[in-house]
């Protein structure tokens, strides 16, 4: 049965899924837990022994984390491989709205947070500025890779110092593998711009 109440909306199934808010919060704090979830999300299915081999934590910790993620509804058992449970990661979006600011925590953000021990800028911004600023920088850096904003515009919009902004941009480009694969750099010349395009000087003078 589907529900569409003030607090619960679901599509065609009973709202039986348990959502462990504490584990969602821990995903943002604990890079090893975030890495385990991200690693499972990167492959269709995974088993405990496979994860023990791929994550730099003890076997006991891996199984504790699997239990925690399953309890929170972030992974599900989908089969059995010779007595070993087979899991798959579930997608999620946790939306929080405070004082007219809405932030969506998604697996894509968790994937970046999983690298916070390797990139001090990620940890620095999360701890000093919080998840809203971090999520904003994440979106703006993706926009930068598409040429939509400049680095200084990112610093201005997020109120981060230029130095922190440069460090975080470098980290996010590296983690997310952003940018063009073609030969670098691209060179623009005046010939790249159509003569029919507006004369900016005249346009602004008229304004």
């Amino acid at each position: 049965m589907s529900y569409d109440t003030e607090h619960v909306r679901n599509a065609g199934d009973t709202p039986g899924v348990s959502i462990g808010i504490r584990t969602f919060a821990e995903l943002l704090e604990n890079p090893s837990l975030a890495k385990l979830y991200t690693s499972m999300r990167g492959s269709a299915t995974a088993t405990g022994p496979e994860l023990v081999d791929s994550i730099a934590v003890s076997k006991k910790t891996v199984y504790d984390y699997l239990h925690k993620l399953e309890q929170a509804g972030l992974i599900s058992k989908v089969g059995d491989d010779g007595g070993t449970n087979v899991y798959t990661a579930e997608e999620f979006e946790l939306t929080v709205t405070v004082r007219e600011t809405e932030v969506s925590i998604t697996p894509e953000l968790v994937e970046v947070i999983a690298h916070k021990n390797e990139y001090p800028a990620v940890e620095r911004v999360l701890e000093a500025h919080g998840i809203v600023t971090f999520a904003l920088v994440y979106d703006l850096v993706k926009a930068h890779s598409e040429g939509e904003v400049t680095i200084r515009q990112i610093a201005s919009l997020t109120h981060l110092s230029p130095g922190t902004t440069y460090d975080l941009i470098e980290a996010l480009y590296s983690i997310l593998d952003l940018g063009e694969d073609e030969s670098n750099p691209t060179t623009y010349t005046p010939d790249d711009f159509d003569e029919d395009e507006a004369n900016l000087l005249e346009e602004y003078a008229q304004e």
Binding site: Q153, Y173, Y188, L200
Partner: protein
């Protein structure tokens, strides 16, 4: 014909503070290419370490400035709050037009692009004060790179190329090369 290179802050952030092997590569490439690297005063300021001493030091640029292969431009005139004045000089107009252009291209049209705009304004100033000159600009922002190639021609200066590094960290290896610092590269 003299070729001047103008580099944005992100270039030097990628090369690292002195002493750095990438800065040494840039020094070699600059000498081999027979050029100089210019930085706007605002870029010098962004890279300065103003934390402890009364007189700021610049761990990225000071040694190269002393050695004479990086030149810091004197601050550009003009005020962002001023509207475009038809009687203003080309350098000032170029800076205001670039600020407007960057806002027009952005999803967030209320940001302050005054420092970004110094790259274009410095290019126009170098053209304005040197008869036989070509300019190559270097940045990791697409819209700014486009502005660098598009706006100086509106003031009659066409001898400009604008290099755009994406992802920014490719500047570490691509910027300090003779190819990128020379007109034929």
């Amino acid at each position: 014909m003299y070729t001047a290179n103008i580099a944005d802050t992100v270039m030097f952030r990628n090369l690292g503070k002195h002493p750095s092997p990438h800065l040494r590569s840039l020094k070699r490439a600059v000498k081999k290419a027979g050029t100089e690297v210019w930085v706007p005063a605002a870029v010098y300021h962004e890279l300065s370490d103003t934390g402890s001493a009364n007189s700021p030091t610049n761990p990225y640029l000071d040694r190269a400035v002393e050695e004479g292969w990086i030149r810091v431009a004197t601050p550009l005139l003009g005020d962002r709050t001023e509207e475009l004045d038809r009687t203003a000089g080309p350098v000032e107009k170029a800076r205001i037009v670039t600020d407007e252009f960057l806002n027009q291209q952005s999803k967030y049209p209320e940001t302050n692009n005054w420092t970004d705009a110094t790259l274009v304004a410095l290019a126009v100033r170098l053209f304005d004060t040197n008869a036989r000159i070509r300019v190559i600009t270097h940045t990791a922002d697409d819209n700014l790179a486009k502005a660098c190639a598009r706006i100086p021609p509106e003031f009659g200066y066409y001898e400009i190329k604008s290099r755009y590094y994406n992802p920014p960290q490719t500047a570490k290896h691509e910027f300090p090369t003779v190819d990128q610092l020379t007109w034929s590269g």
